[in-house]
Symmetry: C2
Subunit: 369 residues, 2 copies
C-alpha cells in the first residue's frame, strides 16, 4: 500500500483546507494511513506529512511491527492518552491551528474529550475531517481492489453456505451460523452484522437473524459483510426455501432488471443520483415506486459502507453530496429493496467503477428463483 | 419485562432533571424502553410517560407486533424522519423544553441532525440523557438476570469450542469461527467482536483474531460477547496449546487470585473503585503493578459494556462516577490483564451483585493451566 503517497495527498488537502493536522481515532482511518487498525488508539497526521501514533503501552511491540509511522507513544489510560496528544499538538506547533476531527465517528461525548483544554490548545479549533479523508479513500489503489475482490469471494462462500443451510426447520440464527463459519474458514478476519430474514421478516429494513424457524416456501434474504485483510465485501441475495409465488418471481425479476441497469451505468463521470434513478426507474414504470425503500448505492472499501454515500445519508454522516464517480471507486449497487405486502426482495453486489464496463466483484448467481 | 414501570421511572427522573422528553435512537435504549431494538429508528419518551416510535415504513408491521408504544410513525427516508420528530415535539408541547439526547451514542454529525432547526424547535435545547438512562438500566429486573444467565451459558459453550479448536496449526480466525458457530447454535442472536489472540499477541489490548497460526505451547486468550434475547454475556479465558512456562503459570495464578478477591467483594454498597483496588492489590503486592492494563470492572446488560463504567471510561462515555453498587447490578470482573514481556493473561467473568454473596453467571473453569 502507498502509505507515503496517502499521507502526502492528505497533507496537500490539509493545506488547501487550512487544517494544521488530523487527529484520527477511527480504526478504518488508522488502517488507511498507517496499516494498523486499532481500538483505543490515535494518529496525528501533520500537514508536513509526519505521522505520530499513540497506542496502549502494551500494544507498542505489536503495532511497531505492523504500522507505518514516524513516532509512536504508549499510554497507560485515557488521561495519559490526552496528555500525550496535547504534548504532540505543542511539538507540532499547532497552538493556533485548525485540527481535523472525525465528526462522523466521534460521539458527542468523545468529541468533547478531544476538544477539552487538556488535549486541544486553547487557541486551536476543530473542524470536520470526514470529507477530506473520504476524498482520499473514495478512489481505490489497485492493491486495494485486489483485496476487495478477495472479500467478495469470501462473501460468495458465505452466501453458498447460507443457501445450503436455509431449509425449512432451520432458524434464521442457524443460517447465520453457517454463513459466518464459511466466511471465517474462507478467510474473514471479521465481519459486520450478518442479516438473515425469512418469511414476513423479509419485509424489514435491517433483518438481523432471529429465532424464527424457516417454513416451507419462505423467501429468505441474506446480506453479508466479511472483512479480509482490512477490506470489506457486501453481498445480498434473496432466495426461496421451496417454491415462490408468481408475485414473488415477478418482484425479483423486476428488481434484478433494475439492479442490472444501475450496475451497467456505474462508470466514470456518472453521478450517484443517476445510478439511484437507474435503479428506481423500472420499478416506478411498473407502478411499484412506493414499494421501494433504502438508498440504492453506497461506497465499499475498508468499511462495507463508506463514501460515496447516498445524498440523504451523506448529510447525516458529515459528507457532502458525492462528486461524479471516478475510476476505481467501488460501490455496492442494490442497497434498496422492493417490499410488497407480505414479503420483500433485495439483491446487492460490489462493483468497481471504470471508464468503460463496470467490474462486478460479487458474481454469485442472482436469479435464485 | 416491566416496560410501563421503566417509562414511569424515566418520567420521574425527567421531572427531577427538568427534561421535557427523551429522543432515543440507540438500539439498546430502544430495546429497554419498547422491547424492540431497531437501527434507523427513534423513540420519543415524554415526561408524561407517552412513547412515540418512528421506524422505516416497511418495518411498521414487524415493529407493531413486537414493541410496546403509544403511537408509531413510519418514515420514507431521513428527511421525513426529521419531519416526523419535529411534528411530535410540537404535539407534545416541547417547543421550549430541554430534550434528552444520547451524547455517548450520537456522533457529532448525527447530533447536529437532531439539533437542526428542522427537528428541534428553535427555543428547545438539548441535554445529555446518558446518565438518566444508565441510572435505570444499571439495576436489573429478575427477568433480565435470567436472560443474562442464558447469555453466560452461551458464552461458556463458545469458550469450550474455542479451547477444543485452538490446537497448534489452527489460525486465530479458525478458533473464532468455532467459538462463534457454537454460540450461534447455543442461541446467540448476535455477538460483539470475538477476540482470539495467541502467542506474543496475547500481549495486546484488543486481540481481534488474525491469520496467525497457533504454535505448540502458545498461550491463547479468547474473549466472547454473545447476545441472547437482547442480553449480553462477557467471558474471557486464557489457556495454553501445550505446556506453559513457570512464569506463565505464576502470572495466571496471581491474576486469578486477584480476580477472585474482586468478585468476592462485589456486593451492595461497595464502590467500583474498591473493586478495582481489590483486583490491583495482589498484583501490586507481587511487584507487578506496572504490568496491569485496562479498567478491571464494567457493567453488563443489554450491552456487554455498559454502566457502571470505570471512572476513567465513564467520563469519556458521558457518565458520572458510578455510585456505590446496588443489588442486581451486573458486572464483568477481570477486564484488565497482566502483561509480561512476551505474553499476557486475562480472565473475565459476569457477576451479579447482591446484598450477600455475588452470583457468578459464567462459571467455566478458570485455572486452565
Amino acid at each position: 500500500m502507498s502509505y507515503k503517497e496517502r499521507i502526502t495527498r492528505a497533507a496537500e488537502l490539509m493545506r488547501d483546507a487550512d487544517i494544521g493536522a488530523l487527529l484520527l481515532t477511527k480504526p478504518a482511518n488508522l488502517l488507511y494511513f498507517t496499516g494498523a487498525s486499532q481500538l483505543c488508539a490515535y494518529a496525528i497526521v501533520s500537514r508536513e506529512g509526519e505521522v505520530a501514533l499513540g497506542v496502549p503501552f502494551i500494544d507498542l511491540d505489536d503495532v511497531s511491527r505492523r504500522a507505518h509511522f514516524d513516532q509512536i507513544t504508549g499510554f497507560n489510560d485515557e488521561v495519559s492518552m490526552l496528555h500525550s496528544i496535547s504534548h504532540l499538538f505543542h511539538r507540532f506547533g499547532l497552538e493556533r491551528a485548525r485540527i481535523g476531527l472525525e465528526y462522523a465517528f466521534l460521539t458527542k461525548s468523545r468529541e468533547a474529550m478531544f476538544t477539552h483544554p487538556h488535549s486541544l490548545p486553547p487557541d486551536a479549533t476543530s473542524v470536520d475531517a470526514t470529507p477530506l479523508v473520504s476524498e482520499l479513500r473514495m478512489v481505490k489503489e489497485e492493491e486495494e481492489i485486489e483485496l476487495l475482490k478477495g472479500a467478495g469471494r469470501v462473501a460468495q462462500a458465505g452466501i453458498a453456505a447460507a443457501i445450503k443451510a436455509a431449509r425449512p426447520g432451520a432458524s434464521e440464527i442457524e443460517v447465520a451460523a453457517e454463513a459466518e463459519h464459511a466466511m471465517r474458514m474462507a478467510g474473514a478476519e471479521s465481519f459486520y452484522h450478518t442479516y438473515v430474514a425469512s418469511g414476513p421478516r423479509t419485509k424489514v429494513a435491517h433483518g438481523y437473524p432471529t429465532y424464527r424457524v424457516i417454513e416451507e416456501n419462505d423467501l429468505v434474504t441474506v446480506d453479508l459483510h466479511p472483512v479480509c485483510h482490512g477490506y470489506s465485501g457486501d453481498l445480498c441475495r434473496t432466495f426461496c426455501a421451496g417454491t415462490p409465488t408468481g408475485t414473488q418471481r415477478k418482484a425479483l425479476e423486476l428488481l434484478l432488471s433494475a439492479q442490472q441497469d444501475a450496475i451497467w451505468k456505474a462508470r466514470e463521470g456518472v453521478g450517484v443520483r443517476e445510478l439511484e434513478e437507474a435503479m428506481h426507474a423500472p420499478v416506478k414504470a411498473a407502478g411499484l415506486g412506493e414499494h421501494l425503500f433504502g438508498p440504492p448505492i453506497h461506497g465499499v472499501g475498508i468499511e462495507f459502507e463508506e463514501a460515496p454515500l447516498p445524498s440523504g445519508h451523506a448529510y447525516f454522516h458529515g459528507e457532502g453530496d458525492p462528486p461524479p464517480l471516478r475510476s476505481n471507486t467501488v460501490l455496492a449497487v442494490g442497497n434498496c429493496g422492493l417490499y410488497m405486502d407480505d414479503f420483500g426482495v433485495r439483491v446487492e453486489d460490489t462493483v468497481v467503477v471504470t471508464a468503460t464496463e463496470p467490474v462486478v466483484l460479487t458474481d454469485y448467481a442472482r436469479k435464485l428463483f
